[in-house]
């Protein structure tokens, strides 16, 4: 399976080096309405281009953790992230594994997957 941004990913040794199989509900901090910028990895910033996880997307395995991370953003930065979206990610949707902490995953979507359709905004009362 080819991953999105695979030309950059393939330049990094052992990237990604694992995968957690199975379907998982994963939550992402996004701006509302969702657009392409909501799924742009930060590997495009030169200072991160050699960091494997910078070519994946940050997601959380539960809504509470995603909300806590939103609250941890500065007021200025929270302009870029003002909502949480959720998607059911299957094995055929790409690579995913835990990084940094128990609730955080890095998700490498497969090439050309329509993430705008895949992720849905979580309403406030959920």
């Amino acid at each position: 399976m080819e991953l999105e941004n695979h030309t950059h990913i393939n330049n990094i040794k052992n990237c990604p080096n694992k995968n957690e199989s199975g379907t998982k509900l994963l939550y992402r901090c996004v701006s509302n309405p969702i657009n392409d910028n909501s799924f742009k990895p930060f590997g495009f910033k030169p200072k991160y281009k050699n960091k494997c996880e910078a070519w994946g997307l940050s997601v959380y395995n539960n809504l509470e953790s995603a909300k806590n991370r939103l609250k941890s953003l500065s007021k200025n930065l929270s302009n870029n992230y003002n909502a949480i979206a959720v998607a059911s990610i299957k094995d055929e949707d790409g690579i995913k594994y835990q990084t940094f902490e128990e609730n955080h995953y890095t998700y490498f979507p497969k090439e050309n997957l329509n993430l705008i359709e895949k992720f849905n905004i979580v309403e406030d009362d959920q």
């Binding site: 200072k47 500065s74 007021k75 200025n76 940094f100 128990e102």
Partner: protein
């Protein structure tokens, strides 16, 4: 190759060691660095078209752990910074464009997170933070208990061992006796409060057994140089006791013991009266006897204080009458036995030359009763009692007679009277005494 450390250029970036990224939203939002053993947080606060804006500030390890376990929000962490905060503009190549310094109290509010910015960080098992957080939680438990701990101290009255306390002294004086007193107190207090509620013995014992496992004090602090300990009631664990009445009693009993038994002003009549009203003499005996043994110990001074910061006060009992009021001395009836003794002469047959300690009394034994008889003390008798420096030919006749429950051993030796008496039926005791008296005379004469 640009790496994470280089985004801190020109802060001598090699000195800043990247530890871990804590909050990540694709890119690190909050990261932990160390420089010269000082911890720093680097916090991404804004994105401009061509650069990112960060806050860099010093943080201590305690605050890091408090933040991780959700006791502090990120806003509180930033507000707790007691020196200054760097504001860094760093471009996408990791080059520092601008550097500024701000006071945490006057920093731009748009750079700060939500008031509710708690994280509840759960590190992966292979993370550096995993063990640190576990140790911090354990310390937290003890620190929480320490806040409500009271302290006891025993101070030696001599400086023979530099005011240090011996292991045995400490174990037998402080630990054992306080523990005995506490056990007696909890049993007495439980009985006084619950014996009318749990009227069936089996149920009563069952309930007491449930709480007994939960009411031990936790030892949360200790100091040497005189020996002091901090004891605390664990309120958390007691919440596992399901019965509300028992739980409430268990939560209170430790504090009651401290107030009623340890921290007593024995000069205050009201406090003494309260003790007398609250406990029966038998209960008081069990509770206060071990405590009085500590307080009255000639080698130590016993002191107590309400918390770590307060001053110690010495517990004394000035008036022995108070002591006896609380633990009355028992008057034991002394049984006086009046034995009337008589000498019984036994005639029987034994093998010649045999030195018998016991005789078989049977139908062939003849008895006759008398109130006096005599024996001849010879050299062997002296030697058998440990006295060897006598004439080997010595022979001293000793009269044995009984009168009014006493056995008299009398003799004349060197024209001098010698007499001893015993009140028991063991002839050998009397013989021992008279031999000893005679031997003393013989030695002094020489």
């Amino acid at each position: 190759m640009i790496n994470n450390n280089q985004i801190l250029n020109p802060f001598l970036s090699d000195e800043f060691v990247h530890i871990e990224d804590i909050i990540v939203l694709d890119e690190p939002i909050l990261s932990h660095y160390v420089r010269n053993e000082i911890d720093y947080f680097l916090y991404l606060v804004d994105k401009e078209t061509n650069f990112d804006k960060y806050l860099l500030f010093h943080i201590n390890s305690w605050t890091i752990c408090e933040y991780f376990i959700g006791n502090m929000s990120l806003l509180e962490v930033i507000n707790s910074v007691d020196d200054f905060i760097y504001i860094l503009d760093i471009n996408f190549d990791g080059e520092l464009l601008e550097k500024d310094i701000a006071n945490p109290k006057t920093i731009n509010k748009n750079y700060l997170p939500n008031i509710d910015s708690k994280i509840f960080f759960k590190p992966l098992e292979n993370s550096l933070y995993y063990k640190i957080i576990e140790e911090h939680k354990n310390k937290q438990y003890i620190n929480e208990l320490k806040k409500s701990a009271f302290y006891m101290k025993i101070s030696p009255k001599t400086s023979k061992y530099g005011h240090t306390v011996g292991l045995k002294e400490m174990a037998e004086t402080l630990f054992k006796k306080v523990s005995e007193s506490y056990s007696a107190f909890t049993k007495a207090d439980f009985t006084n409060k619950f014996e009318r509620i749990y009227t069936e013995l089996k149920e009563f014992k069952n309930k007491l057994s449930i709480v007994n496992n939960e009411i031990d004090f936790r030892l949360v602090d200790a100091g040497i140089n005189s020996f002091e300990i901090g004891l605390a009631v664990d309120r958390q664990m007691k919440m596992t006791i399901e019965d509300k009445k028992l739980r409430e009693w268990a939560l209170k009993v430790g504090d009651d013991f401290k107030a009623t038994i340890l921290d007593v002003n024995y000069s205050d009549d009201r406090q003494v009266e309260l003790i007398l009203e609250k406990f029966s003499p038998e209960q008081r005996k069990k509770i206060f006897t071990p405590m009085f043994e500590i307080i009255e110990n000639k080698n130590f001074e016993f002191q107590i204080k309400n918390n770590k910061r307060s001053k110690y006060k010495t517990i004394k009992i000035r008036d022995k009458f108070t002591l006896e009021k609380i633990v009355p001395i028992e008057n034991k009836a002394i049984e006086v036995k009046n034995n009337d003794l008589e000498i019984v002469q036994v005639t029987t047959l034994v093998e010649k030359g045999k030195n018998l300690k016991t005789l078989k009394i049977d139908q062939n034994t003849l008895f006759s009763s008398t109130d006096n008889t005599n024996i001849i003390l010879k050299y062997d008798d002296f030697v058998n009692h440990g006295y060897e420096k006598v004439d080997s030919n010595i022979q001293i006749k000793v009269n044995i007679l009984t009168n009014n429950g006493l056995v008299f051993f009398q003799t004349i030796f060197d024209n001098l009277p010698f007499e001893v008496n015993t009140n028991n039926s063991k002839l050998d005791d009397g013989i021992s005494l008279i031999i000893s008296k005679l031997y003393e005379y013989i030695l002094n004469k020489e």
